[in-house]
Amino acid sequence: MRFVAGSGKVGDRIFSNLAVGAAITILALLGGVAAFLLIQAMPAVSASPSDLPGGKSLIDYIAPLAFGTVLAATIAVVLAVPLAVAVALFISHIAPRRLLLPLGYMVDLLAAVPSIVYGLWGIFVLGPAAVGPMEWLEQKLGFIPFFEGPASVTGRTMLVAGLVLTVMILPIVSAVAREVFSQTPRKLQEGALALGATRWEMIRMTVLPFGKSSIISGAMLGLGRAIGETMAVTIILSVSGIVTFNLISQANPSTIAANIALDFPESTGLAINTLIASGLVLFAITLVTNLAARAIISRQNIQ
């Protein structure tokens, strides 16, 4: 039956083509990212070590950077996740109910701050403030490789960079945790309370198990963010390129992202290809992290 001749059908055709076109464009875009990066990275992969910056092979160039990336990100996740869970629990279960939205908003504000601002804050505020505690760490806990020292006097250390990353990913993990905690079914929580559990026991028995997989996926989101973070680390770290677990000294490894930010503007030729190759490695690491996070979520959903 025809009620509308012509315009409806043509309009529909055009519109749906536009929509499909948009979808395809985006997929092409992503394919493009991978493809172009690969093309531009190839020269570095096939070059001989003497032509590359630093005169080392590509792997030797990237490995310390990858180490630094993982080290900084690990510090951030290890510190941020327990803190984020506590913050989420505070907002969802301890603070008065009507403060749920405002408090959540305050924590989320941390996520809106641009990373350059975090970088400036890190080097001008947190760094100097951390010098005293780092000296204390060197004195009291210097036997642990992390705190071997000698403590930096400027505060431009891996520890401070890690702390700034912690603050940056805290709102991400906390928002995910807060979401799932406040969705814990009421009947489960009441069931625990009716058995004579204290509030903390109730949280331990119902809220935390319920939110476990969300916390993990939130942590991995945070990890991905920390791995890819550039500006804060670029500004804060005093880089010497060595691979070390010493968190409080002047000599630190760089991260892949920071290295690109520092070297790219002045680089030419093969150096650029090398940097792009390192960017590809960074992309691969974040990809794996994100896919793992999604796999965890979907496994939980199947259960």
Binding site: E190, G191, G196, P209
Partner: protein, 297 residues
């Protein structure tokens, strides 16, 4: 019933031993003597008024929930029966702005006293909810033992095994789950889950058991099983049950309390309370008569 009776006598002795361990020797003699159940405590309310903020939800209820009997609270939706029930184990106050006025005593002790910890009250006054709520991340065994585990370290494994089995037997669930104790609590059917919740509630030996429409989410077969169970449980506990189902009330209870709302916006009131048979055949209030004969509700 001989074998079951012998088992129950054994478990009574076992329970006496446990009582002696946890509360001192006074209660041991009376538990050993009672081979058919133990004397439970009386729950009394005097002039209880319940509020949600400014909203007056339940007005002036004074009843006695008698020991070792089943008291049914009936009435139409929204008349405050569940609100009243939840005040008996201090769950009402969990809602923001909720308030209790009046006196509620368990065995003579005011459960809202300034020196009283609500956590302790809830240990002594247990609750089974409308929709079965086993802890999904815990196994069947851990679900039943959940209350026991809260007193961490005080109960040894062998004792715990014994209590879990006894509670599951008491809830008529043992035979169905004895080979699946380590499976998650959520893997059972609806009726089984509710019996699991009952086992969980009874495992901690409360004085009073409150049940909020325990069968409303279950099919008729499961419902009958639970009703039979309630009849058995009253030998050990004081039971109060909120129900929408009048047939259930008349089948399963000894005493019935009828709640009613005069009009929406007004607080719910207790209209009449008495022996179940009397309430259903010759109630003294007209409103009660109207409700039980199905003229409204």
């Amino acid at each position: 019933m001989g074998a079951a009776g012998a088992t129950r006598a054994e478990t009574e002795v076992g329970k006496a031993e446990m009582n002696a361990v946890t509360t001192g020797a006074q209660s041991a003699p009376e538990s050993v003597a009672a081979t058919q159940g133990r004397p439970a405590k009386t729950l009394e309310t005097r002039s209880v008024n319940l509020y949600y903020g400014d909203f007056h939800a339940v007005e002036d209820v004074s009843i006695t929930v008698e020991p070792n009997k089943v008291t049914a609270l009936i009435g139409s939706s929204g008349c405050g029966k569940t609100t009243f029930l939840r005040s008996l184990n201090r769950m009402h106050e969990l809602t923001a702005g909720a308030r209790v006025e009046g006196e509620i005593t368990l065995d003579g002790q005011d459960i809202y006293g300034s020196n009283v910890d609500p956590v302790q009250v809830r240990r002594l006054v247990g609750m089974v909810f409308q929709s079965p709520n086993p802890f999904p991340t815990m196994s069947v065994y851990d679900n039943v033992a959940a209350g026991l585990n809260l007193n961490a370290g005080r109960v040894k494994k062998a004792e715990k095994d014994e209590i879990v089995e006894r509670s599951l037997r008491g809830a008529h669930l043992w035979n169905e789950v004895k080979d699946r104790l380590d499976k998650p609590g959520s893997s059972l059917s609806g009726g089984q889950q509710q019996r699991l919740c009952i086992a969980r509630a009874t495992a901690v030996e409360p004085e009073v058991l409150l049940m909020d429409e325990p069968c409303s989410a279950l099919d008729p077969v499961a419902t009958l099983a639970i009703e039979d169970l309630i009849g058995e449980l009253k030998s050990k506990f004081t039971i109060a049950i909120v129900t929408h189902n009048m047939q259930q009330a008349s089948r399963a209870s000894d005493i019935t309390a009828f709640f009613n709302l005069e009009e929406t916006g007004k607080p719910g009131r207790l209209v009449e309370i008495g022996a179940t048979e009397k309430i259903f055949t010759s109630p003294s209030q007209q409103a009660t008569e109207d409700y039980v004969s199905g003229r409204f509700g």
